[in-house]
Assembly symmetry: C2
Homo-oligomer: 518 residues x 2
């Protein structure tokens, strides 16, 4: 009798019933040893029946099972996670509304079908790999900007709005939305990864620019996290709980974003240095002096060469370590800030300090920075080459050390790899070119870079998120107890582990050899 009643009741409770759980149930965390594998049902019969259910919700035209769609919705050529052949959804479903998503999740919940969410597909760490099969929910039809509350400086959007098109719309009202991750990223995924970009030093990250979310939970329940006040201390910060949760706690179907007036005057300057360490030292002194610059980016000699070679800018650059600065504010303020930074750069040993001549050159220069990944991808020798983009962040006092050591390590590895990053936050990227034969070399370079960051009291990822690739670094970074607490949260929100299962926290023991040695 009991065993029937408890069928399919999820990893946590099933465990409890097996009699190992006496300590778990009153505990605040959930060690992996006490979790049991999720019990999904991806049998052909169940999926076939679900297909008919999905069709009743979104119509046949919004369900795809073509090979191309299934592949492109489970991985990408810029992802550092090598999609396994089995990591594919059985169908891609395109809902048109929050209500659709809720109905889809109710079906999946009833039928125990796992789900991955997809918007821009620009994430890097295997975030949308379909490790459990199931379905992919593609938000592309939910791409509307619903309402701009200009007076309140907020805007209501759907998850498949891109940050670039949003900013085009906002610019007409002299407003903008600061988070600027890679080109093509969309609000849904940006919330998922808690992304940032070049504007984060001045404006903060995605975490700071979301007022409220509408979220569909694993069982189809629709939750709105907040109304529209700028400030609230009413209850737990559910909004923030979902930001950076990588689609593992709920599916974002609507967001209220803050916006801000477009800066009136912006100037861009470029400053070259003899070594990457002197450039990083300059960042440290500018940040320490509290100069309110708009952005500060580092690009190493390799990256500058890639930009030259890719021909994405009309001018050609010195192929040396370079800082890009953005200044904004009133004309007087910009002038003051520039003069302060020029002085500090000189003291750090800068060689040249020049301004973009006009707005166009400034924009072009900045877009070159944004195209860093693509300019390295353009260096691919042939189709078997891949690009591994990874990021870490450290307390600013350790920035010069970690950049210097990482650059040395890349050089020693024999691979082509550039350093580029939002260094005002202590955050930088390595973009590494490798082919299948070089995979393990690249993997070790990344591993050492992450280890270095964590040992310097930093983080395995400043803005890309954990996905699958950085999952096993979390215990080293924040400790096993914090990871066990995250697993407890995951279990509370999604007891059947339907939502993006296997991302951020493991829900079952790794196979032997699966976790790299620390």
């Amino acid at each position: 009798m009991m065993s029937v009643a408890f069928l399919g009741i999820g990893w946590f409770l099933a465990d409890y019933i097996r009699g190992q759980g006496k300590q778990v149930d009153t505990g605040s965390t959930m060690p992996l040893s006490q979790a049991i594998p999720p019990q999904h049902d991806t049998s052909p019969t169940n999926l076939q029946a679900a297909w008919a259910d999905f069709k009743a919700v979104v119509g046949e035209e919004n369900i795809s099972t073509t090979d191309d769609d299934l592949t492109s919705h489970a991985g990408s050529e810029w992802s550092s996670y090598p999609s396994l052949p089995g990591d594919r959804p059985f169908a891609v479903i395109k809902p048109g509304s929050t209500e659709d998503v809720s109905k889809i999740m109710k079906i999946c919940h009833k039928r125990r079908i796992p789900v991955t969410a997809y918007s821009g597909g620009t994430s890097l760490e295997g975030h949308f790999a379909a490790t459990r099969g199931g379905i992919c929910i593609d938000f592309s039809r939910m791409d509307k900007i619903f309402k701009l509350n200009k007076e309140d400086l907020d805007v209501v959007v759907q998850p498949a709005v891109g940050w670039e098109s949003l900013n085009e719309e906002l610019a007409e009202q002299q407003l903008f939305f600061p988070p600027d991750p890679g080109p093509g990223a969309m609000i849904g995924g940006m919330i998922g990864t808690g992304c940032s970009g070049t504007n984060a030093y001045r404006y903060g990250t995605m975490k700071d620019w979301v007022l409220s979310l509408t979220v569909v939970m694993a069982d189809g329940t629709v939750v709105k996290t907040k109304q529209r006040p700028r400030k609230s201390s009413a209850g737990y910060d559910l909004t923030r709980t979902f930001i950076g949760s990588e689609g593992t706690l709920g599916l974002v179907t609507e967001a209220v974003l803050k916006v801000t007036p477009l800066p009136q005057n912006t100037r861009v300057a470029v400053c070259t240095f003899p070594t990457i360490r002197t450039a990083a030292d300059c960042v440290f002194s500018v940040v320490g002096a509290g100069v309110p610059i708009a952005a500060i980016e580092i690009l190493d000699d390799v990256q500058m060469r890639c930009i030259n070679d890719s021909g994405t800018t009309r001018r050609s650059w010195q192929e040396v370590p370079t800082l890009f600065f953005k200044f904004s504010g009133t004309p007087t303020a910009v002038k003051e800030h520039i003069s302060m930074v020029q002085g500090l750069a000189k003291r750090s040993g800068s060689k040249t300090f020049e301004f973009a001549k006009n707005k166009e050159e400034g924009d072009e220069l900045w877009s070159a920075r944004k195209e860093a990944l693509w300019s390295v991808m353009a260096k691919k020798r042939d189709a078997s080459d891949h690009v591994w983009t990874t990021d870490v962040a450290v307390p600013i006092s350790r920035l010069a050390d970690i950049i210097g050591e990482t650059k040395d390590d890349i050089s020693k590895s024999g691979l082509v790899g550039s350093i580029v990053g939002h260094v005002g936050d202590g955050n930088f990227h390595a973009i590494i070119l490798y082919n299948d034969a070089e995979h393990d070399v690249a993997d070790r370079v990344v591993h050492r870079m992450v280890k270095r960051a964590i040992e310097m009291e930093g983080t395995a990822t400043g803005e890309h998120g954990v996905g699958i690739v950085k999952r096993d670094y979390l215990p080293h970074e924040i400790g096993q107890e914090a990871v066990d607490l995250m697993r407890k949260m995951k279990q509370a929100f999604d007891p059947l582990c339907l939502l993006n299962c296997d991302k951020i926290v493991r829900v079952q023991q790794p196979k032997p050899g699966e976790v790299q040695e620390w």
Copy 2:
């Protein structure tokens, strides 16, 4: 056999076992109907035995059971929650370290003893009322500033460090910590309520100034939420999960706070208006224009009179609606900002615009603002008078409406009540004087103010937190599903509901008549 195994297993699972929970256990939220009352053990025998356990951890000298201590650790004269005679802990325990707190929680977890946390005791909504008896953990011995990482602009502190003394220390290094709630507040409670203050418009709230927390969970597990990078997207945002959780999810025993350079030049200006609505309109236009002022505060005629009457400033003020502005930045920037604000104020109908003559006058003026609550308390007619301080926040476009309507409502009620607030965030307070006979009148005024805010897409509290008093507004503000999700979180982190039980979310059905009609 089963029933023995499931003894004392917490509200959620016990419910499941009772056979009502088939839907709950796989669901993402926890409706109140599916919770059962916590099963604490506050029997004299258990508490006596626990006393010996606590003594072994902290020593007898750090356990108090005096009547005065028990009373002062369960309520205050400025709290809007009328402590009931039974709302008292049986002992106040003073741990000296994270390890002590962990040991204490392990004892409470084993013995099912509920716990409230106490640091500054300045909270307003019944946050530390001991509704379930048990023990109070007083953090007063944990009051150290451990380490200032000057280069990284962060500082490691214990929970009983006050924000005022922290700033005195930081000022020696030309640094400061912006969140500035009521005098006497301490870091632990500031994290608990997700507080803010006058600096929030420019610098953000407590939520923005905490890098990492060490937290003791309900079962004694110690969790560190993060290392020290300024930016991270590694896993769920545990830090933010605890901020604003009012001691219901875990006990903060250490915090890494961000700090920032002290502004070089600060000027304070005072601007009077014919009506509270014109003053609020001016706020709206200044905020809309994006002038980067440091702070903007509103004080109504009643509040200005209270300040005059209390004699806390040497000068005497016009008793009319007044905006206080703070400007900071480089001398040129301050000049620019002042001139912009002067123009906007004039267009909004300001009557006067004058500057504090010097730093001393500016400081004094600002301290008058900070003493608002105390200056109203000074108006008490006799010992039977109380002061009810409440706050709400709305989208800035609704600020003039809600302040105007609330002021009218207070006038009509016949009570003395002032309006004062951090209006740049759309956040303001009412401070209402009442005696026992007037309690229900005050209660209705507050109720209507909160209802008004929620109906304007605002929040029941911008910075004070929910506690007990605003708990039943949450479903109206964010919806029942979001509250049920909060309850699910609470249950996951604290299955036995030991930590500040009854705050933020209910864990058992209210008695008839306990919840006000909407």
